[in-house]
Symmetry: C2
DNA sequence: CGGATGCCTTGACCGAGATCAAGTGGATGA
DNA sequence: TCATCCACTTGATCTCGGTCAAGGCATCCG
């Protein structure tokens, strides 16, 4: 498994995920303690970062890029159970073996900590444990939201749900505006979307074509999406149009 | 909403969930602080304990009985997103509004704390926060396990998965043996099972009949289940037969 | 330049599970 | 005792999404 140690971003103060990651609540002292033990690793698109069942020797935060958590049955059926974005935490303090595969969807940079030193630090640093609890609760909410999508939504609603999540996330990470048309690139292949949504890639393709035909989305090439009317998309997703955006 | 204050179980030391709930890691002092602010509430089967969107004024632990977390779309489609069993934690410190309906499936007793005092206590008591983090991580794992079931399993596999989960949980709560035939009562109606599995109640009924016809399960009445061969059931569920039982 | 590969689209057909409908059996209550 | 109700079962039919198959289009590499 090839990886490199990066030396950029070496100051936590300059880190792009400083205020969203596990370290978000840390004060200067705590940040310095983290700086002591952290190191950067890069992975290329397609690489498996962690294999299900492997010993987990490190934990860390996504700095840039996208990775996915997936579960696979013996016969090959696979379900994505999480999408890891910048600032998301990878790994689980207090557990030795990885329950899922973690695969790099794009090129990735992670800020890593060897597990044991991190656990020790966490025991002494309530700010880290508190932040991790918050983040875990948010992930649990996201997982449960997704259970509704998987269990009860139609293929068209599933696609619309995924697009609206990506769009919202993109808006919150970059410019921040939710008004007016939203423009972004799909970070996932059709197959990855299918694995996320419990569909086949053919159905994903058909439903994207249908949403395009119906003017709900505009497509340039296969990945570049424009959403002229976010409210319309959310109706298609079967979500409340009104509900305040929590993310 | 009718409820009663119970005075039994008033000593935490005697509490049946003492070593599994949020208070599991507490020492004697901490337990006394909890005892100060706790109170018991009962709910009858069918009662809604918390409505989605409501202000959450309390958090608490399930002492006995079963409740479900459900999400509902405007058109009535509903998906269960969690099953609350004795020792499970209800509510979310740091959040004001309930994201899901919590409904009593059977008669229930909960050990409650008003949210604010509990949050204050948690800030001062790392043992509680640590335990809550552990429990939340476990729930996240369970939710992700369930995403595989919802997204990729067939109706028959879904039913087998649910039965094996209930059987395993029952074994871990009561006698503890996983060898030999397992016997238990289904705590859910066919409709609740359907809501859990993303199916219709007719399909649930048909698949249960099929598993019975094929000798995978034995049924006495509509709820009393005997599983002659747990390995067989797990094969039907599409799970690894070998994998160590984590729960 | 031409073949291979990866990602995507589209069509034809099929089947698992949803929908609609009727009926069973046990519990409750007048 | 009979009517009602509820949870459940079973059958007939329909439909959404899966499966199988072919082809398009960009990129890479010999």
């Amino acid at each position: 498994m090839n990886f490199q140690i990066h030396t950029d971003h070496s100051k936590c103060g300059d880190c792009p995920i400083r205020h969203r990651a596990v370290c978000a609540h840390c004060d200067q002292d705590e940040l310095e303690a983290l700086e002591e033990i952290k190191y950067y690793r890069s992975f290329e698109a397609g690489q498996t970062i962690i294999w299900s069942g492997d010993q987990m020797s490190f934990v860390g935060s996504m700095v840039s890029g996208i990775a996915s958590l997936t579960q696979t049955m013996e016969d090959g059926r696979t379900q994505m159970v999480g999408l890891l974005l910048p600032s998301d935490f990878v790994g689980r303090p207090g557990r030795d073996f990885a329950p899922y595969d973690v695969v790099a969807t794009t090129d990735i940079v992670m800020c890593c900590f060897r597990k044991k030193p991190f656990e020790d630090l966490m025991a002494r640093t309530p700010h880290i444990a508190q932040r991790l609890l918050q983040m875990t609760l948010d992930e649990l909410d996201a997982a449960r939201e997704w259970m509704l999508v998987l269990g009860r939504k139609t293929a068209r609603e599933k696609i619309a749900s995924l697009l609206s999540i990506i769009a919202r996330r993109d808006a919150s990470l970059t410019k921040g505006g939710m008004s007016g048309p939203m423009v972004f690139d799909l970070p996932l292949t059709r197959e990855a979307m299918a694995d996320y949504l419990g569909l086949t890639l053919e159905t994903v393709s058909r439903q994207i074509s249908a949403l395009k035909r119906d003017g709900v989305i505009l497509l340039e090439g296969k990945r570049h999406v424009t959403i002229p009317d976010m409210g319309r998309l959310m109706e298609e997703a079967g979500d409340d149009t009104d509900g305040g955006f929590l993310v």
